[in-house]
């Protein structure tokens, strides 16, 4: 059955054009993209992916060329975050539940960055994002879903961190519960909003430049998540405690 489908696909006139498209050097825009899109109703995003990673392109070279600079930048940002770790450590040592929560919050924020980035990249590839991106219903839905999920999970993290902190003889009263919950929930919500805006603006920028946003967005959002988490958390601790 599958072989039959493959054979019939090969007979399709668009197949010949796709083969032709793959042979074109990836750096050059060619009118054939527009022609195939018009004539055979194949999405421009599919044509872009075929051209980007087609037989004529050197896949590792393409990925490394597009990713390396941004990965090195992300590494530098994270290392700067590492430098601040020493100062943050001194403040956190007195607040046990926040020490417990720190790696979990870092993971959570990073995860939201990855989900937002990869889903937004796929939306761009599938052509779902409108010129006025804020009017795209899929994007609005994604934002609301992430905000609801991040608030609920932040509350859960606060509860778990307080419970573990309580077990390690940290004094827990109403004031401590309120402060720690506020710090964690505000930190997560502020960072999710920043990540969302960053992913949208950077994603649109790289996509319009003709690059694959997948190669840029995750390093950008995760490094902002890491660095931003340490900064915002310490600001909130100074403000609230």
């Amino acid at each position: 059955m599958e072989q039959k489908i493959e054979k019939s696909a090969r007979k399709h006139p668009a197949h010949r054009h796709l083969k032709k498209l793959q042979k074109i050097k990836r750096k050059h825009y060619h009118p054939i993209i527009h022609e195939i899109h018009k004539k055979h109703n194949i999405s421009k995003k599919t044509l872009f992916y075929v051209k980007e990673y087609g037989p004529h392109s050197h896949i590792p070279q393409t990925i490394i060329r597009e990713s390396l600079r941004i990965l090195l930048f992300a590494s530098l940002i994270s290392s700067l975050g590492g430098l601040t770790l020493e100062n943050i450590k001194n403040i956190f040592v007195t607040i046990v539940p926040l020490i417990v929560a720190l790696p979990v919050i870092n993971d959570m924020i990073g995860n939201y960055g990855t989900v937002i980035s990869s889903k937004f990249s796929t939306m761009l590839h599938e052509g779902l994002v409108k010129t006025k991106w804020w009017k795209t219903s899929e994007l609005r839905k994604l934002f609301l879903q992430i905000i609801v999920i991040s608030t609920v999970t932040a509350l859960l993290v606060s509860a778990m961190a307080l419970a573990i902190g309580g077990l390690s003889n940290y004094f827990i009263d109403v004031s401590a519960v309120t402060k720690i919950t506020l710090v964690i929930v505000f930190d997560v919500i502020i960072l999710v909003c920043i990540l969302f805006l960053m992913a949208v603006f950077a994603g649109l920028y790289f996509f319009r430049k003709g690059e694959d946003p997948n190669n840029f967005l995750i390093p950008i959002t995760t490094s902002i998540a890491d660095f931003g988490n340490m900064c915002i958390l310490s600001i909130l601790v100074i403000l609230i405690f």
Partner: protein
């Protein structure tokens, strides 16, 4: 607009899983904090090192997901040109990025704290390779598996990579610390 749909469930449950993974990773790090802190520059290396698995394996899984959704990648074939290319690229990126992380950690320790910790460079490189020898094939297998089962890998892969990555990266660092 239906807010509580399949996407919501997938993201939510994967986050719950991540909370547990984060706690395991955090506990592991807390247990071995003294050993890890013994090496100068380790605190500078650590955030970037932990983040790297998301940046490289996460982008790898995300590229595969886009290819799977567009129909350019066949979810039943592992040995194809696109996947081989992605695999090679990811490993080369690991080598280059861990080398850079090691050099940055060394430079910061040397110029800011005045500590000569050259050992941090081979340690970062070896630990990165070791961690990604597990992480990248795992990302490939899981992305294909989830897609074949009808899930959106974009919703779940980030969490799987972060959760497993924390534990794998910290264990790799500990193993490398013994070796170097």
């Amino acid at each position: 607009m239906k807010l509580f749909d399949k996407d919501f469930e997938e993201i939510f449950y994967s986050q719950i899983l991540s909370l547990l993974g984060g706690l395991v990773g955090g506990t592991l790090l807390a247990i071995y904090t003294n050993q890890l802190l013994m090496l100068p520059g380790m605190l500078i290396l650590l955030p970037g090192f932990l983040e790297m698995r998301g940046n490289i394996s996460g982008s790898f899984a995300s590229r595969l997901s886009s290819g799977l959704f567009l129909g350019v990648i066949n979810p039943k074939k592992y040995n194809t040109r696109i996947i081989r290319g992605n695999f090679i690229a990811s490993f080369l990126l690991v080598i280059l990025v861990t080398l850079a992380l090691g050099i940055v950690a060394f430079a910061f320790s040397f110029f800011i704290f005045g500590i000569y910790a050259i050992k941090i460079i081979p340690m970062a490189l070896l630990a990165g390779l070791l961690a990604n020898l597990i992480e990248i094939p795992l990302a490939l297998y899981m992305t294909f598996y989830l897609f074949r089962k009808g899930h959106d890998p974009n919703n779940i892969m980030g969490t799987i990579i972060t959760t497993t990555g924390d534990v794998i990266s910290i264990i790799s660092l500990l193993i490398t610390m013994v070796l170097v």
